[in-house]
Amino acid sequence: MDPVNVANLALAGVLTGLVYGLMALGLSVIFGVVRVVNFAHGEMMTIAMYAAVVLFTTLGLDPFLAILPVALAFFVLGYAMQAGLINPFITRPEHSQFMLLVAVAIIMVNALLVIFGPGARSVQLDYLLESIELGPLLLDRGKFYAALVACAASAALFAFFRYTPTGRAIRACADNWLGAKVVGLNVKHYYAFTFGLGSACVAIAGCMMVLLVDVTPPLGPYYTLLAFVIVIVGGLGSMAGALLGGVLIGVSEALAGLFITPSAKSMFSFGLLILVLLLRPQGLLGRRP
Protein backbone atom coordinates (compact mmCIF):
# COMPACT_ATOMS: atom_id res chain seq x y z
CA MET A 1 0.00 0.00 0.00
CA ASP A 2 1.40 3.31 -1.12
CA PRO A 3 1.63 5.75 1.84
CA VAL A 4 1.05 8.76 -0.42
CA ASN A 5 -2.12 7.15 -1.67
CA VAL A 6 -3.29 6.49 1.88
CA ALA A 7 -2.47 10.07 2.86
CA ASN A 8 -4.40 11.40 -0.13
CA LEU A 9 -7.43 9.34 0.77
CA ALA A 10 -7.24 10.36 4.42
CA LEU A 11 -6.96 14.01 3.41
CA ALA A 12 -10.01 13.70 1.17
CA GLY A 13 -11.76 12.08 4.12
CA VAL A 14 -10.90 15.03 6.35
CA LEU A 15 -12.29 17.49 3.81
CA THR A 16 -15.53 15.55 3.31
CA GLY A 17 -15.69 15.03 7.06
CA LEU A 18 -15.69 18.78 7.68
CA VAL A 19 -18.80 19.13 5.51
CA TYR A 20 -20.37 16.21 7.40
CA GLY A 21 -19.36 18.00 10.57
CA LEU A 22 -21.19 21.18 9.57
CA MET A 23 -24.32 19.14 8.86
CA ALA A 24 -24.05 17.40 12.23
CA LEU A 25 -23.35 20.74 13.90
CA GLY A 26 -26.89 21.76 12.96
CA LEU A 27 -28.29 18.66 14.66
CA SER A 28 -26.10 19.15 17.70
CA VAL A 29 -27.04 22.80 18.17
CA ILE A 30 -30.74 21.98 17.88
CA PHE A 31 -30.48 19.15 20.39
CA GLY A 32 -28.25 21.15 22.74
CA VAL A 33 -30.80 23.93 23.03
CA VAL A 34 -34.25 22.60 22.17
CA ARG A 35 -33.58 19.04 23.48
CA VAL A 36 -35.38 17.57 20.48
CA VAL A 37 -33.64 15.08 18.20
CA ASN A 38 -34.29 16.18 14.64
CA PHE A 39 -35.11 12.92 12.90
CA ALA A 40 -35.68 14.85 9.67
CA HIS A 41 -32.16 16.25 9.59
CA GLY A 42 -30.82 14.29 6.63
CA GLU A 43 -34.00 14.92 4.70
CA MET A 44 -33.51 18.67 5.18
CA MET A 45 -29.96 18.20 3.94
CA THR A 46 -31.20 16.60 0.71
CA ILE A 47 -33.72 19.41 0.23
CA ALA A 48 -30.85 21.90 0.45
CA MET A 49 -28.87 19.82 -2.04
CA TYR A 50 -31.78 19.81 -4.50
CA ALA A 51 -32.19 23.55 -3.98
CA ALA A 52 -28.54 24.07 -4.93
CA VAL A 53 -28.91 21.81 -8.00
CA VAL A 54 -32.06 23.64 -9.13
CA LEU A 55 -30.46 27.06 -8.69
CA PHE A 56 -27.49 25.84 -10.70
CA THR A 57 -29.45 24.28 -13.57
CA THR A 58 -32.03 27.07 -13.92
CA LEU A 59 -30.07 30.23 -13.10
CA GLY A 60 -26.54 28.90 -13.54
CA LEU A 61 -25.80 29.92 -9.96
CA ASP A 62 -22.58 28.44 -8.59
CA PRO A 63 -23.28 26.42 -5.39
CA PHE A 64 -20.88 28.72 -3.51
CA LEU A 65 -23.14 31.66 -4.40
CA ALA A 66 -26.26 29.60 -3.75
CA ILE A 67 -25.26 29.38 -0.08
CA LEU A 68 -26.72 32.77 0.76
CA PRO A 69 -30.26 32.38 -0.62
CA VAL A 70 -30.56 28.73 0.42
CA ALA A 71 -29.31 29.39 3.95
CA LEU A 72 -31.68 32.34 4.35
CA ALA A 73 -34.63 30.30 3.09
CA PHE A 74 -33.69 27.46 5.44
CA PHE A 75 -33.40 29.80 8.40
CA VAL A 76 -36.97 30.98 7.78
CA LEU A 77 -38.16 27.42 7.16
CA GLY A 78 -36.48 26.14 10.32
CA TYR A 79 -37.87 29.01 12.38
CA ALA A 80 -41.36 28.31 11.08
CA MET A 81 -41.01 24.57 11.68
CA GLN A 82 -40.01 25.03 15.30
CA ALA A 83 -42.55 27.78 15.98
CA GLY A 84 -45.44 26.04 14.26
CA LEU A 85 -44.80 22.32 14.66
CA ILE A 86 -42.21 21.47 17.28
CA ASN A 87 -42.77 24.04 20.03
CA PRO A 88 -46.07 22.42 21.09
CA PHE A 89 -44.14 19.13 21.40
CA ILE A 90 -41.24 20.19 23.62
CA THR A 91 -43.01 19.10 26.79
CA ARG A 92 -44.30 15.87 25.25
CA PRO A 93 -42.51 12.51 25.68
CA GLU A 94 -39.65 11.54 23.38
CA HIS A 95 -41.59 8.98 21.36
CA SER A 96 -44.17 11.62 20.52
CA GLN A 97 -41.49 14.01 19.25
CA PHE A 98 -39.96 11.14 17.33
CA MET A 99 -43.27 10.40 15.63
CA LEU A 100 -43.73 14.03 14.65
CA LEU A 101 -40.31 14.31 13.05
CA VAL A 102 -40.57 10.91 11.38
CA ALA A 103 -43.82 12.10 9.80
CA VAL A 104 -42.05 15.27 8.63
CA ALA A 105 -39.18 13.18 7.28
CA ILE A 106 -41.53 10.85 5.37
CA ILE A 107 -43.26 13.85 3.80
CA MET A 108 -39.96 15.49 2.84
CA VAL A 109 -38.26 12.49 1.28
CA ASN A 110 -41.35 11.52 -0.72
CA ALA A 111 -42.15 15.05 -1.80
CA LEU A 112 -38.65 15.13 -3.30
CA LEU A 113 -39.35 11.82 -5.00
CA VAL A 114 -42.58 13.19 -6.48
CA ILE A 115 -40.95 16.40 -7.70
CA PHE A 116 -37.57 15.17 -8.91
CA GLY A 117 -38.05 11.43 -9.46
CA PRO A 118 -35.66 8.72 -8.31
CA GLY A 119 -32.78 9.62 -10.64
CA ALA A 120 -29.54 11.20 -9.43
CA ARG A 121 -28.98 14.94 -9.92
CA SER A 122 -25.65 16.67 -9.85
CA VAL A 123 -23.82 19.91 -10.52
CA GLN A 124 -21.24 19.92 -13.32
CA LEU A 125 -18.53 22.53 -12.96
CA ASP A 126 -15.14 22.53 -14.66
CA TYR A 127 -13.15 23.50 -11.60
CA LEU A 128 -14.46 20.47 -9.71
CA LEU A 129 -12.16 18.33 -11.83
CA GLU A 130 -9.04 20.33 -11.01
CA SER A 131 -6.79 19.56 -8.11
CA ILE A 132 -4.27 21.45 -6.02
CA GLU A 133 -0.77 20.02 -5.59
CA LEU A 134 0.62 20.11 -2.09
CA GLY A 135 4.06 18.53 -2.33
CA PRO A 136 3.35 14.88 -3.10
CA LEU A 137 -0.29 15.26 -2.06
CA LEU A 138 -3.21 16.05 -4.33
CA LEU A 139 -6.16 18.06 -3.08
CA ASP A 140 -9.49 18.06 -4.85
CA ARG A 141 -10.32 21.71 -5.54
CA GLY A 142 -14.08 21.42 -4.98
CA LYS A 143 -13.57 19.45 -1.77
CA PHE A 144 -10.98 21.91 -0.54
CA TYR A 145 -13.23 24.95 -1.01
CA ALA A 146 -16.22 23.08 0.42
CA ALA A 147 -14.23 22.26 3.54
CA LEU A 148 -13.08 25.88 3.84
CA VAL A 149 -16.69 27.07 3.69
CA ALA A 150 -17.68 24.47 6.30
CA CYS A 151 -14.92 25.71 8.61
CA ALA A 152 -15.89 29.36 8.08
CA ALA A 153 -19.57 28.65 8.74
CA SER A 154 -18.73 26.70 11.90
CA ALA A 155 -16.45 29.50 13.12
CA ALA A 156 -19.19 32.03 12.48
CA LEU A 157 -21.62 29.95 14.51
CA PHE A 158 -19.11 29.61 17.37
CA ALA A 159 -18.60 33.37 17.35
CA PHE A 160 -22.33 33.99 17.24
CA PHE A 161 -22.98 31.91 20.35
CA ARG A 162 -19.97 33.36 22.15
CA TYR A 163 -20.18 37.08 21.44
CA THR A 164 -23.66 38.21 20.40
CA PRO A 165 -26.47 39.00 22.86
CA THR A 166 -28.82 36.64 21.00
CA GLY A 167 -26.26 33.85 21.19
CA ARG A 168 -25.84 34.40 24.91
CA ALA A 169 -29.61 34.39 25.38
CA ILE A 170 -29.87 31.09 23.52
CA ARG A 171 -27.16 29.58 25.70
CA ALA A 172 -29.10 30.75 28.74
CA CYS A 173 -32.21 28.98 27.45
CA ALA A 174 -30.18 25.82 26.93
CA ASP A 175 -28.55 25.91 30.37
CA ASN A 176 -31.65 26.70 32.38
CA TRP A 177 -34.94 26.87 30.61
CA LEU A 178 -36.92 28.00 33.64
CA GLY A 179 -34.31 30.54 34.73
CA ALA A 180 -34.28 32.03 31.24
CA LYS A 181 -38.03 32.37 31.40
CA VAL A 182 -37.85 33.99 34.81
CA VAL A 183 -35.48 36.72 33.63
CA GLY A 184 -37.90 37.48 30.83
CA LEU A 185 -36.45 35.72 27.78
CA ASN A 186 -38.95 34.60 25.16
CA VAL A 187 -37.82 30.98 25.24
CA LYS A 188 -40.03 29.82 22.38
CA HIS A 189 -38.68 32.54 20.12
CA TYR A 190 -35.10 31.53 20.92
CA TYR A 191 -35.91 27.85 20.35
CA ALA A 192 -37.27 28.74 16.93
CA PHE A 193 -34.24 30.94 16.26
CA THR A 194 -31.95 28.01 17.16
CA PHE A 195 -33.81 25.63 14.90
CA GLY A 196 -33.44 28.23 12.17
CA LEU A 197 -29.69 28.41 12.78
CA GLY A 198 -29.41 24.61 12.75
CA SER A 199 -31.32 24.54 9.48
CA ALA A 200 -29.03 27.20 8.00
CA CYS A 201 -26.02 24.98 8.89
CA VAL A 202 -27.70 22.12 7.04
CA ALA A 203 -28.39 24.42 4.09
CA ILE A 204 -24.74 25.43 3.79
CA ALA A 205 -23.58 21.84 4.22
CA GLY A 206 -26.08 20.77 1.56
CA CYS A 207 -24.87 23.38 -0.94
CA MET A 208 -21.31 22.13 -0.39
CA MET A 209 -22.26 18.47 -0.51
CA VAL A 210 -23.57 18.73 -4.10
CA LEU A 211 -19.99 19.51 -5.09
CA LEU A 212 -18.94 16.12 -3.70
CA VAL A 213 -21.77 13.67 -4.45
CA ASP A 214 -24.85 13.25 -6.65
CA VAL A 215 -28.14 13.67 -4.86
CA THR A 216 -31.07 11.21 -4.78
CA PRO A 217 -34.08 11.24 -2.39
CA PRO A 218 -33.01 8.12 -0.39
CA LEU A 219 -29.86 9.96 0.63
CA GLY A 220 -32.01 11.72 3.26
CA PRO A 221 -32.50 8.86 5.74
CA TYR A 222 -28.86 7.89 5.21
CA TYR A 223 -27.66 11.36 6.17
CA THR A 224 -29.97 11.39 9.18
CA LEU A 225 -28.28 8.26 10.51
CA LEU A 226 -24.86 9.62 9.60
CA ALA A 227 -25.57 12.84 11.50
CA PHE A 228 -26.63 10.82 14.56
CA VAL A 229 -23.46 8.79 14.46
CA ILE A 230 -21.34 11.92 14.18
CA VAL A 231 -22.96 13.87 17.00
CA ILE A 232 -23.02 10.92 19.37
CA VAL A 233 -19.37 10.15 18.69
CA GLY A 234 -18.41 13.80 19.09
CA GLY A 235 -20.80 14.51 21.93
CA LEU A 236 -24.47 15.46 21.50
CA GLY A 237 -24.76 19.18 22.17
CA SER A 238 -21.02 19.86 21.81
CA MET A 239 -20.19 22.08 18.84
CA ALA A 240 -16.50 21.19 18.54
CA GLY A 241 -17.46 17.55 19.04
CA ALA A 242 -19.66 17.62 15.95
CA LEU A 243 -16.77 18.76 13.77
CA LEU A 244 -14.38 16.24 15.31
CA GLY A 245 -16.96 13.47 14.85
CA GLY A 246 -17.49 14.53 11.24
CA VAL A 247 -13.77 14.36 10.48
CA LEU A 248 -13.43 10.97 12.22
CA ILE A 249 -16.32 9.52 10.25
CA GLY A 250 -15.12 11.13 7.01
CA VAL A 251 -11.65 9.63 7.39
CA SER A 252 -12.95 6.23 8.47
CA GLU A 253 -15.30 6.11 5.48
CA ALA A 254 -12.48 7.05 3.12
CA LEU A 255 -10.05 4.48 4.54
CA ALA A 256 -12.61 1.70 5.05
CA GLY A 257 -12.74 1.34 1.27
CA LEU A 258 -9.01 0.75 1.23
CA PHE A 259 -8.52 -1.58 4.20
CA ILE A 260 -11.83 -3.47 4.24
CA THR A 261 -14.57 -3.74 1.64
CA PRO A 262 -16.27 -0.42 0.77
CA SER A 263 -19.72 -1.82 1.52
CA ALA A 264 -18.71 -2.31 5.16
CA LYS A 265 -17.77 1.32 5.65
CA SER A 266 -20.90 2.28 7.55
CA MET A 267 -20.63 -0.85 9.67
CA PHE A 268 -17.41 0.66 10.94
CA SER A 269 -19.17 3.94 11.80
CA PHE A 270 -21.97 2.14 13.64
CA GLY A 271 -19.41 0.02 15.48
CA LEU A 272 -17.65 3.21 16.52
CA LEU A 273 -20.99 4.63 17.66
CA ILE A 274 -21.73 1.59 19.83
CA LEU A 275 -18.27 1.72 21.38
CA VAL A 276 -18.54 5.42 22.16
CA LEU A 277 -22.05 5.03 23.60
CA LEU A 278 -20.89 2.29 25.91
CA LEU A 279 -17.51 3.62 26.97
CA ARG A 280 -18.11 7.35 26.88
CA PRO A 281 -21.85 7.97 26.45
CA GLN A 282 -21.45 11.74 26.56
CA GLY A 283 -19.27 11.54 23.42
CA LEU A 284 -15.62 12.37 22.93
CA LEU A 285 -15.96 16.09 23.67
CA GLY A 286 -19.32 16.12 25.46
CA ARG A 287 -20.01 17.06 29.04
CA ARG A 288 -21.64 14.59 31.40
CA PRO A 289 -25.40 15.26 31.34
Binding site: H95, I107, N110, V114, S263, A264, F270, I274
Partner: protein, 321 residues
Protein backbone atom coordinates in the same frame (compact mmCIF):
# COMPACT_ATOMS: atom_id res chain seq x y z
CA UNK B 1 -68.55 -6.60 30.94
CA UNK B 2 -69.07 -4.33 27.96
CA UNK B 3 -65.42 -4.73 27.02
CA UNK B 4 -65.76 -8.52 27.11
CA UNK B 5 -68.81 -8.49 24.83
CA UNK B 6 -67.13 -6.21 22.30
CA UNK B 7 -63.95 -8.30 22.41
CA UNK B 8 -65.93 -11.52 21.83
CA UNK B 9 -67.72 -10.00 18.85
CA UNK B 10 -64.40 -8.88 17.37
CA UNK B 11 -62.85 -12.31 17.91
CA UNK B 12 -65.86 -14.01 16.33
CA UNK B 13 -65.64 -11.79 13.25
CA UNK B 14 -61.90 -12.45 12.98
CA UNK B 15 -62.32 -16.21 13.31
CA UNK B 16 -64.88 -16.36 10.50
CA UNK B 17 -63.19 -13.71 8.38
CA UNK B 18 -61.45 -16.16 5.95
CA UNK B 19 -64.76 -17.83 5.08
CA UNK B 20 -66.07 -14.72 3.35
CA UNK B 21 -62.92 -12.76 2.53
CA UNK B 22 -61.13 -12.88 -0.81
CA UNK B 23 -57.42 -13.63 -1.11
CA UNK B 24 -56.47 -9.95 -1.18
CA UNK B 25 -58.50 -9.05 1.92
CA UNK B 26 -57.00 -12.07 3.67
CA UNK B 27 -53.46 -10.95 2.93
CA UNK B 28 -54.23 -7.44 4.19
CA UNK B 29 -55.75 -8.89 7.36
CA UNK B 30 -52.70 -11.11 7.90
CA UNK B 31 -50.46 -8.09 7.53
CA UNK B 32 -52.54 -6.14 10.06
CA UNK B 33 -52.30 -8.99 12.54
CA UNK B 34 -48.55 -9.23 11.93
CA UNK B 35 -48.00 -5.58 12.81
CA UNK B 36 -50.49 -5.77 15.66
CA UNK B 37 -48.45 -8.62 17.14
CA UNK B 38 -45.07 -6.97 16.59
CA UNK B 39 -46.44 -3.71 17.98
CA UNK B 40 -47.72 -5.54 21.04
CA UNK B 41 -44.23 -6.97 21.56
CA UNK B 42 -42.62 -3.54 21.23
CA UNK B 43 -45.22 -2.10 23.57
CA UNK B 44 -43.97 -4.32 26.41
CA UNK B 45 -40.67 -2.46 26.32
CA UNK B 46 -41.86 1.06 25.60
CA UNK B 47 -45.50 1.18 26.63
CA UNK B 48 -45.06 -0.78 29.86
CA UNK B 49 -41.47 -0.18 30.95
CA UNK B 50 -40.80 3.12 29.18
CA UNK B 51 -37.68 2.03 27.25
CA UNK B 52 -37.79 3.50 23.74
CA UNK B 53 -36.44 1.04 21.19
CA UNK B 54 -36.11 2.27 17.61
CA UNK B 55 -34.36 -0.89 16.46
CA UNK B 56 -36.91 -3.67 16.79
CA UNK B 57 -36.26 -4.72 13.21
CA UNK B 58 -33.14 -6.31 14.71
CA UNK B 59 -35.21 -8.99 16.48
CA UNK B 60 -37.56 -9.51 13.54
CA UNK B 61 -34.55 -9.99 11.29
CA UNK B 62 -32.48 -12.22 13.56
CA UNK B 63 -35.56 -14.34 14.34
CA UNK B 64 -36.39 -14.67 10.65
CA UNK B 65 -32.83 -15.49 9.63
CA UNK B 66 -32.38 -18.01 12.48
CA UNK B 67 -35.45 -20.03 11.51
CA UNK B 68 -35.01 -19.68 7.76
CA UNK B 69 -31.29 -20.45 7.92
CA UNK B 70 -31.92 -23.58 9.97
CA UNK B 71 -34.59 -24.72 7.54
CA UNK B 72 -32.46 -23.89 4.52
CA UNK B 73 -29.35 -25.71 5.71
CA UNK B 74 -30.67 -28.62 7.77
CA UNK B 75 -34.29 -28.98 6.68
CA UNK B 76 -35.49 -28.58 10.27
CA UNK B 77 -38.80 -26.76 10.11
CA UNK B 78 -40.32 -23.86 11.96
CA UNK B 79 -41.02 -25.96 15.07
CA UNK B 80 -37.26 -26.10 15.69
CA UNK B 81 -36.38 -22.72 14.24
CA UNK B 82 -38.71 -20.87 16.55
CA UNK B 83 -36.75 -21.95 19.62
CA UNK B 84 -33.46 -21.00 18.04
CA UNK B 85 -34.96 -17.63 17.09
CA UNK B 86 -36.31 -16.99 20.57
CA UNK B 87 -33.07 -18.06 22.22
CA UNK B 88 -30.89 -15.91 19.96
CA UNK B 89 -33.09 -12.86 20.32
CA UNK B 90 -33.32 -13.21 24.09
CA UNK B 91 -29.54 -13.35 24.26
CA UNK B 92 -29.24 -10.38 21.93
CA UNK B 93 -31.84 -8.38 23.86
CA UNK B 94 -30.15 -9.27 27.13
CA UNK B 95 -26.75 -8.23 25.76
CA UNK B 96 -28.02 -4.86 24.50
CA UNK B 97 -30.03 -4.27 27.66
CA UNK B 98 -27.11 -5.23 29.88
CA UNK B 99 -24.67 -2.94 28.08
CA UNK B 100 -27.12 -0.02 27.94
CA UNK B 101 -28.53 -0.22 31.46
CA UNK B 102 -25.21 -1.05 33.15
CA UNK B 103 -23.67 2.03 31.62
CA UNK B 104 -26.69 4.14 32.52
CA UNK B 105 -27.82 4.87 28.97
CA UNK B 106 -31.43 5.97 28.74
CA UNK B 107 -33.86 8.09 26.76
CA UNK B 108 -32.66 9.39 23.41
CA UNK B 109 -29.26 7.74 23.81
CA UNK B 110 -30.83 4.34 24.39
CA UNK B 111 -33.05 4.82 21.33
CA UNK B 112 -30.05 5.71 19.18
CA UNK B 113 -28.11 2.73 20.55
CA UNK B 114 -30.88 0.39 19.43
CA UNK B 115 -30.78 1.95 15.93
CA UNK B 116 -27.02 1.48 15.88
CA UNK B 117 -27.25 -2.22 16.76
CA UNK B 118 -29.91 -2.81 14.10
CA UNK B 119 -27.93 -1.00 11.41
CA UNK B 120 -24.70 -2.72 12.45
CA UNK B 121 -26.41 -6.10 12.13
CA UNK B 122 -27.99 -5.16 8.80
CA UNK B 123 -24.65 -4.39 7.24
CA UNK B 124 -23.14 -7.45 8.93
CA UNK B 125 -25.73 -9.75 7.38
CA UNK B 126 -24.89 -8.28 3.98
CA UNK B 127 -21.51 -9.99 4.41
CA UNK B 128 -22.66 -13.39 5.62
CA UNK B 129 -22.59 -15.39 2.39
CA UNK B 130 -23.75 -18.50 4.26
CA UNK B 131 -27.12 -16.79 4.72
CA UNK B 132 -27.29 -15.42 1.21
CA UNK B 133 -25.65 -12.04 1.82
CA UNK B 134 -27.18 -9.04 0.06
CA UNK B 135 -28.64 -11.33 -2.63
CA UNK B 136 -31.15 -12.68 -0.12
CA UNK B 137 -32.08 -16.01 1.41
CA UNK B 138 -34.85 -17.95 -0.31
CA UNK B 139 -36.60 -20.93 1.20
CA UNK B 140 -38.50 -23.57 -0.70
CA UNK B 141 -42.16 -22.91 -1.35
CA UNK B 142 -44.11 -26.15 -1.03
CA UNK B 143 -47.36 -27.56 0.37
CA UNK B 144 -49.37 -24.55 -0.69
CA UNK B 145 -52.59 -26.55 -0.32
CA UNK B 146 -52.56 -28.35 3.04
CA UNK B 147 -52.05 -27.25 6.62
CA UNK B 148 -48.64 -28.18 8.05
CA UNK B 149 -48.57 -26.19 11.26
CA UNK B 150 -45.42 -27.85 12.57
CA UNK B 151 -43.38 -26.68 9.62
CA UNK B 152 -45.43 -23.53 8.93
CA UNK B 153 -46.17 -24.56 5.37
CA UNK B 154 -49.67 -24.17 4.06
CA UNK B 155 -52.47 -22.05 2.65
CA UNK B 156 -52.83 -18.30 3.21
CA UNK B 157 -55.75 -19.05 5.53
CA UNK B 158 -53.43 -21.10 7.74
CA UNK B 159 -51.00 -18.21 8.01
CA UNK B 160 -53.92 -15.96 8.88
CA UNK B 161 -55.00 -18.23 11.71
CA UNK B 162 -51.45 -18.62 12.98
CA UNK B 163 -51.11 -14.86 13.17
CA UNK B 164 -54.54 -14.51 14.77
CA UNK B 165 -53.60 -17.07 17.41
CA UNK B 166 -50.29 -15.28 18.05
CA UNK B 167 -52.12 -11.97 18.43
CA UNK B 168 -54.66 -13.45 20.82
CA UNK B 169 -51.93 -15.11 22.89
CA UNK B 170 -49.89 -11.91 22.98
CA UNK B 171 -52.97 -9.96 24.04
CA UNK B 172 -53.69 -12.34 26.92
CA UNK B 173 -50.02 -12.52 27.86
CA UNK B 174 -49.72 -8.73 27.96
CA UNK B 175 -52.94 -8.48 29.94
CA UNK B 176 -51.49 -10.86 32.54
CA UNK B 177 -48.15 -9.05 32.47
CA UNK B 178 -49.82 -5.72 33.20
CA UNK B 179 -51.65 -7.23 36.17
CA UNK B 180 -48.54 -8.94 37.51
CA UNK B 181 -45.90 -7.60 39.87
CA UNK B 182 -43.63 -6.95 36.87
CA UNK B 183 -46.33 -4.86 35.22
CA UNK B 184 -46.67 -2.57 38.21
CA UNK B 185 -42.90 -2.28 38.63
CA UNK B 186 -42.53 -1.43 34.95
CA UNK B 187 -45.15 1.28 35.14
CA UNK B 188 -43.42 2.72 38.18
CA UNK B 189 -40.12 2.76 36.25
CA UNK B 190 -41.81 4.28 33.20
CA UNK B 191 -43.36 7.11 35.19
CA UNK B 192 -40.35 7.92 37.36
CA UNK B 193 -37.30 5.71 37.39
CA UNK B 194 -35.54 7.50 40.26
CA UNK B 195 -38.61 7.31 42.45
CA UNK B 196 -39.00 3.61 41.63
CA UNK B 197 -35.38 3.02 42.58
CA UNK B 198 -35.82 4.95 45.80
CA UNK B 199 -38.70 2.64 46.68
CA UNK B 200 -36.34 -0.31 46.44
CA UNK B 201 -37.17 -1.60 42.98
CA UNK B 202 -34.17 -3.12 41.23
CA UNK B 203 -34.77 -1.13 38.08
CA UNK B 204 -31.91 -2.81 36.21
CA UNK B 205 -33.41 -6.26 36.63
CA UNK B 206 -36.95 -5.27 35.66
CA UNK B 207 -35.85 -3.28 32.65
CA UNK B 208 -33.80 -6.29 31.53
CA UNK B 209 -36.88 -8.48 31.89
CA UNK B 210 -38.88 -6.10 29.67
CA UNK B 211 -36.21 -6.13 26.96
CA UNK B 212 -35.86 -9.91 27.03
CA UNK B 213 -39.61 -10.55 26.87
CA UNK B 214 -40.07 -7.99 24.13
CA UNK B 215 -37.22 -9.33 22.01
CA UNK B 216 -38.38 -12.94 22.42
CA UNK B 217 -41.92 -12.02 21.36
CA UNK B 218 -40.64 -10.02 18.40
CA UNK B 219 -38.45 -12.90 17.21
CA UNK B 220 -41.56 -15.05 16.75
CA UNK B 221 -42.91 -12.39 14.38
CA UNK B 222 -39.65 -12.79 12.48
CA UNK B 223 -40.10 -16.56 12.18
CA UNK B 224 -43.58 -16.00 10.82
CA UNK B 225 -42.25 -13.42 8.35
CA UNK B 226 -39.63 -15.83 7.04
CA UNK B 227 -42.07 -18.66 6.34
CA UNK B 228 -44.87 -16.40 5.09
CA UNK B 229 -42.80 -14.49 2.54
CA UNK B 230 -40.17 -17.22 1.88
CA UNK B 231 -37.47 -14.66 1.10
CA UNK B 232 -35.28 -12.47 3.28
CA UNK B 233 -33.05 -9.54 2.40
CA UNK B 234 -30.95 -7.77 5.05
CA UNK B 235 -31.68 -4.48 3.29
CA UNK B 236 -35.41 -4.96 3.87
CA UNK B 237 -35.80 -6.81 7.11
CA UNK B 238 -33.25 -4.95 9.24
CA UNK B 239 -33.96 -1.55 7.73
CA UNK B 240 -34.84 1.28 10.10
CA UNK B 241 -38.09 1.85 8.19
CA UNK B 242 -39.17 -1.64 9.29
CA UNK B 243 -38.62 -0.62 12.93
CA UNK B 244 -40.62 2.53 12.33
CA UNK B 245 -43.46 0.51 10.78
CA UNK B 246 -43.56 -1.67 13.89
CA UNK B 247 -43.72 1.18 16.36
CA UNK B 248 -46.12 3.45 14.44
CA UNK B 249 -49.03 1.10 15.23
CA UNK B 250 -48.79 1.30 19.03
CA UNK B 251 -48.01 5.02 18.96
CA UNK B 252 -50.97 5.83 16.71
CA UNK B 253 -53.22 3.38 18.53
CA UNK B 254 -52.24 4.33 22.05
CA UNK B 255 -48.99 3.58 23.77
CA UNK B 256 -49.09 1.41 26.88
CA UNK B 257 -52.61 0.18 26.17
CA UNK B 258 -53.48 -3.41 25.29
CA UNK B 259 -55.72 -2.61 22.37
CA UNK B 260 -53.71 0.30 20.99
CA UNK B 261 -51.22 -1.78 18.94
CA UNK B 262 -54.04 -3.75 17.31
CA UNK B 263 -56.15 -0.70 16.47
CA UNK B 264 -53.08 1.25 15.33
CA UNK B 265 -51.92 -1.51 12.98
CA UNK B 266 -55.41 -1.79 11.47
CA UNK B 267 -55.75 1.96 11.02
CA UNK B 268 -52.30 2.36 9.44
CA UNK B 269 -52.57 -0.52 6.99
CA UNK B 270 -56.13 0.26 5.94
CA UNK B 271 -55.13 3.90 5.60
CA UNK B 272 -52.16 3.02 3.43
CA UNK B 273 -54.37 0.78 1.29
CA UNK B 274 -57.10 3.39 1.10
CA UNK B 275 -54.63 6.03 -0.04
CA UNK B 276 -53.30 3.69 -2.73
CA UNK B 277 -56.79 3.08 -4.08
CA UNK B 278 -57.87 6.68 -3.77
CA UNK B 279 -54.83 7.85 -5.71
CA UNK B 280 -55.36 5.16 -8.34
CA UNK B 281 -58.93 6.39 -8.77
CA UNK B 282 -57.66 9.94 -9.23
CA UNK B 283 -54.93 8.77 -11.57
CA UNK B 284 -52.12 10.22 -9.40
CA UNK B 285 -49.85 7.22 -9.38
CA UNK B 286 -46.45 8.87 -9.14
CA UNK B 287 -43.87 7.24 -6.88
CA UNK B 288 -43.93 8.92 -3.48
CA UNK B 289 -47.38 10.53 -3.61
CA UNK B 290 -48.84 7.84 -1.39
CA UNK B 291 -46.19 8.27 1.29
CA UNK B 292 -46.65 12.04 1.31
CA UNK B 293 -50.33 11.57 2.19
CA UNK B 294 -49.42 8.88 4.70
CA UNK B 295 -46.96 11.26 6.37
CA UNK B 296 -49.54 14.04 6.46
CA UNK B 297 -52.07 11.81 8.19
CA UNK B 298 -49.46 10.70 10.73
CA UNK B 299 -48.64 14.34 11.37
CA UNK B 300 -52.29 15.22 11.99
CA UNK B 301 -52.85 12.23 14.28
CA UNK B 302 -49.78 12.86 16.39
CA UNK B 303 -50.62 16.56 16.67
CA UNK B 304 -54.24 16.21 17.67
CA UNK B 305 -54.33 12.83 19.43
CA UNK B 306 -51.11 12.81 21.46
CA UNK B 307 -52.22 9.78 23.49
CA UNK B 308 -53.31 7.80 20.45
CA UNK B 309 -56.67 6.85 19.01
CA UNK B 310 -57.60 4.08 21.44
CA UNK B 311 -57.92 6.09 24.69
CA UNK B 312 -60.27 8.51 22.90
CA UNK B 313 -62.22 5.67 21.30
CA UNK B 314 -62.38 3.65 24.51
CA UNK B 315 -64.09 6.57 26.23
CA UNK B 316 -66.69 6.69 23.45
CA UNK B 317 -67.33 2.95 23.67
CA UNK B 318 -67.51 3.15 27.43
CA UNK B 319 -64.84 0.53 28.04
CA UNK B 320 -61.63 0.64 30.07
CA UNK B 321 -58.18 0.79 28.57
Amino acid sequence: MRAKILLSILLLVLVFFPTFAGPYALSVATLILFFAYAGQAWNVMMGFAGQLSLGHSLYVGVGAYAAAGLYFHTGLGAWAGIWLAILLCMLLGAAIGFLAFRFGISGVYFALLTIAFAEFTRIGFDHIQWLGGPGGLFIKVEHRTGWDLVNLRGTPAMFYYVMLALCALAFIFCFLLLKSKAGYYWQAIRENEEAAQALGINTFRWKMLAVVISSAMTSVAGVFYAFYYNNLFPEQIFHISRSIEIILGPIIGGIGTLFGPILGAAVLILLSDGITEGLAALGWEFPGVKQVFYGLVLLVVVMFLPRGIWPALARRLGVGK
